[in-house]
Amino acid sequence: MTAQTHKNALQGPLGWGLLVIAGVVLLVSLGYAISQIMAHGHTSFNTSSVLPWGQPIATYVFFALASSGLGLLAALPLVFGFKQYYPVAKRCIFLAFALLISGMSVLALELGHVFRMLWVIPMNLQVQSAMFWMGLFYALDLIFLLWKFSKLQGGHWDSKTAKQVGIASFIGVLLASGNLALIFGMMSMRPFWFDALMPVYFYITAITSAIAVLLFLTYLAYGFKRERMPSALQALLTGALPKLFATSIGLTLLFILVRAITGLYSNNPEISIVWTDYLFDSGVYIAALLIGLLLPFVVLLSKLRNGIGIQVLAALLVTFAIFAERFYFVVGGQVVPLFKGTWVPNLISYSPSATEWSLTVFGFSLCLVLYLLGEKFLHLGDMPSHIANKSAQPGTAEAAA
């Protein structure tokens, strides 16, 4: 087969190859995680009673928010009429779904009793808990994503129902990720997290990570060759999207900066020490800030931003940076021991165990497998015909049957 028959590289042998690799990684990581959890329970985690939420939670937050970010991106064309984003709308919706499934799967393996959740939450309706609402809205989000995707898959880009589902989905995303933010932001006993603007921070970083993931996977879909892409997509990738990417990275940096300044300025050791002795004491965190966010931001501000290599690299760096940010955010809120006296005299140290890493790898590989299947069978590059035809170039007609 040649590249000519498949514009989308992933529908060819590359897709199969990647699928096999991702599938193997998925099976190995999941198998390892499950065998460890079955044999040892959560003793195979490095979390503890003093630091109960670790990397699996951070992984979940990463996926859930990246999913939300993609949902918000999809809303640009589908709800707000930013037409130039149509070329990625379907991919965004599908990816949001894939990422959310991955995140939820990781979370499920982190919980003590995942299946019990299915009946106790609806039976008990604890409306005081942000986690209840988060669960509810992410469940709705998932349904809306599927619904909307089925609309798009059916080619209903602008039908009334599609619009309504789109709006509902958009609101669901805002509520879901907002409630996820409130899970942390409402915890006054964890001052590092306690922040009324936490939802805004989550929205911004959600979009940042969403663009990063989208950029990388979109390039992957076309074999990192822009000329294979539909022109509308090319236009987006050399126009609005990198600018939006730069903007969201900038806002992310701004938000982190403001949090860091207020945190460092604060006399409250439960905030300031987290910054001085945990975050800024970590090479990984500083690298995430400087190389993972600041560097891409500076480069994307320049004319270089339209280069494929630059965009792919920036996407990878930002993905890493936001993942690191999620980790340090989740762990950072817990490293100051609460009320432990000499028993825990220093910041609580935590690094993920092999099982926890395997859950993270499982999350990424599941997401990749779903995405590869989506690219292969569901024509994620679809866009409304008027967009596709507007800047008609030879061979831009999509392979839609």
Binding site: I34, I37, M38, A39, H40, G41, L109, G112, H113, V114, F115, R116, L118, W119, V120, M123, N124, L125, V127, Q128, G341, T342, W343, V344, P345, N346
Partner: protein, 828 residues
Amino acid sequence: MKLFQTLINRRRFLQSSAAVGASAGAVATGITGLKGFSPVSEARAQAPRGETTITKNVCAQCPARCGIDVYTTDGRVHAIYGTSDNPISNGKLCPKGHLGSYFLYDPDRFKGPMKRTNPNKGRDEDPGFVPISWEEALDTVAERLNDLRRRGESHRFSMFYGRGWGSSDAGIQYPFGELYGTPNAAIGHSSMCADGSKKAKQATDGNSSYSSYDYRNANYLLIIGASFLEAFRPYNNVMQMWGHMRTKSPKTRVTTVDVRMSPTMAASDRALYIKPGTDGAFALAIAHVILTEGLWDREFVGDFTNPNRQFVGGRRIPANSFNEKWVHGLADWWNEELLERTPEWAEEITGINAEDIRRTAIEFGSTRPAVALFERGATGHSNGTYNGMAIHSLNALVGSLFAEGGIGYQVAPSYGALPVEVSDYMDDYAKNGAWKDQPRIDMKGTDRWPMVGNMMQECAINHLNADPYTLDTAMFYYTNPIWSAPNPQVWEEALKNVFIIDTSPFPGETAMYADIVLPDCTYLERTQDVPTYPFEGWPMAELRTPAVEPIHDTKMYGDVIIELGKRIDGPMGDYYRELGSVENYIRHLAAGFADDPGDNGVDGFESWKEKGVWYKKPYKWRQIRGEFYEWDGQRYSRQMSAEEVQEHLLKTPSGKFEVRSGFLEEHAAYIEEELGIPRERAGLVQWVAPVYTGGDGDLHFITPKTPLHAEGRGANIPQQMMVHQPIVGGRNTVYLEVHPETAKARGINNGDRVRISSDIGSIEAECRFVASHRPDTLVLPFEYGHWAQGRWAKGRGPGNSSEITANISDPISGLASYYTGKVKLERA
């Protein structure tokens, strides 16, 4: 959240959800299947259970003898609480007490008698134990003992014991020695325990004993080197009294003198840090101020014949100018010692500000009743007896001896007579055998150690040197000197060619050297009499009753002795056949209560078993304003003669409290030789500079006992290990506590691994900074460094502090100088 709260009637939800929870659990089980994720989770409510029985017992984790209620349901012990009507525990316990069930169910306990198959002994040698029957085990030992006796070498059999409880265990050993023919039948561990304070009291008031205290009525405590709120006997009751003293009216004021920060120091009104080994200098300065300020108790001590006369620092008083009442030698003491012992002099030696010494002295001297108490912190040094005497003399100066709110001694219980007389069962060998000419293996009572009670720490080196002779067979009960003795490396070598019988239920280091293991029952499985340690003075005896039948094939030590005795040739066997068993023995003891029923109505074995304790209040004697009275059943009314006081209370040659000790003067030549004190001064309570051990180290090394330390038997209790050293968060290990300046001067950071070395060895530990310790003093609570003792204890760091502690003892008391070592510190 308030808003949400009103949205939902939560009571309704709670009720409905509970019902759903109960029914839906089974459903969830069906769904999950994955055991690891989500274990079978049927809704569980209270399961049917058998009846709970409560048996009376006595905690065995320290010598305090707290009466305990042991809760047993369906044959399993599941809770231990203090006995409410027990005068020591009063329903309370210390942190160790609750952990007793761990001892019973220690998975590493010996399950039955065993013999060794590997002839080689050492740390890394697997003993190769194989189970044998009790019959075979006892016959093997008896055969060996009979053989020794036939060869006329019975003195080469030695019985070492540590925590003896009463006449039905350690007490049985004494007649065994007399009947069998060995001077070594009862070599106690007291010289590695706290003989210093006993000897200091013997030298001053004639009682070779720990004291009883009337804390309830004391208004001032001066605590010197005693870890009052961590390890002072009886710890549980001491804490009860602490709660009382600190809230009663007037509140008891407390000054603590110690070499380190500790809960006692922290909780006191005044904490004074002292240089290790100099406690005597502090006490002498206190005495100096009490006298110069005129604060002494004239009714007890006496007074100048001319009331206008005073003690003036540096100035002698005429020899006959002071009319001594109950204190003997005061004028000499002042003239030959005290007059120069000013607070300024003491500041130079102790490091405590003269002003603090003076303030403390004035408070102590002007608050009645006041008690000065001390333990190993003050006495675990070459000058320990003199330190202790100086401190104890303060009690005399303020008239606290036998006074309300003061200090006294313990009266023994009214036990009945045994059915057998030792003298009726002695054969000719027992009476006149060659063993009669042999000294004890520890050389107690010889020219080498003329004044000591025991000298267990000397036995290993004496055996190695065959001086006075070598041991052939040694039996160990409740003691583990191969690990706990100072410089235990010598014991490891010495015991290699001795036939060892260990009786511990736990696989300690001594057991690893054992040729035969005769495992004892744990205390929850024993019948055992437990007369009290010095407590409030009035007589008291407790009884252990098994909560469960022995869960393994074990035998009480007392019964092991009886069974061995039965197997020894000659009339000795008849003695033990007559004695029968420990229970029979105890029934005879209890018969004594028939004529002297306890305050709680206990008048025999059955009622003793039911109540767990026999006691008779109040204390029989009391000193009131310088006169001694005896209790007549209603009040302290019958005044005692000087002779009676000497017989019962002040048992010194003079019949008074002696600040010039007749007991020491009897051994003046020995003291001159050993301590360099001119023999004419030997009897005086005086300052003697300590001789630090360990070589040229620059740091003092202190190894205190923590509240969780169950005398070496707690080392295999994970629950204990996780709360062992709260001061610096020591869990899983014990940290070396070090002043940050001291550490940093050696390039050591908080948490670093360090090496502590003396001239006999080195150990490693992790360190943690404690800025409130003395910079020249390292603190390492002793507990770990075991190379046996069970799966949790074995190999757990830090190293064993005994391994860097030289085997040097106070020549007078024989107390091993555990707290006098100097060491070097470096990064490991």
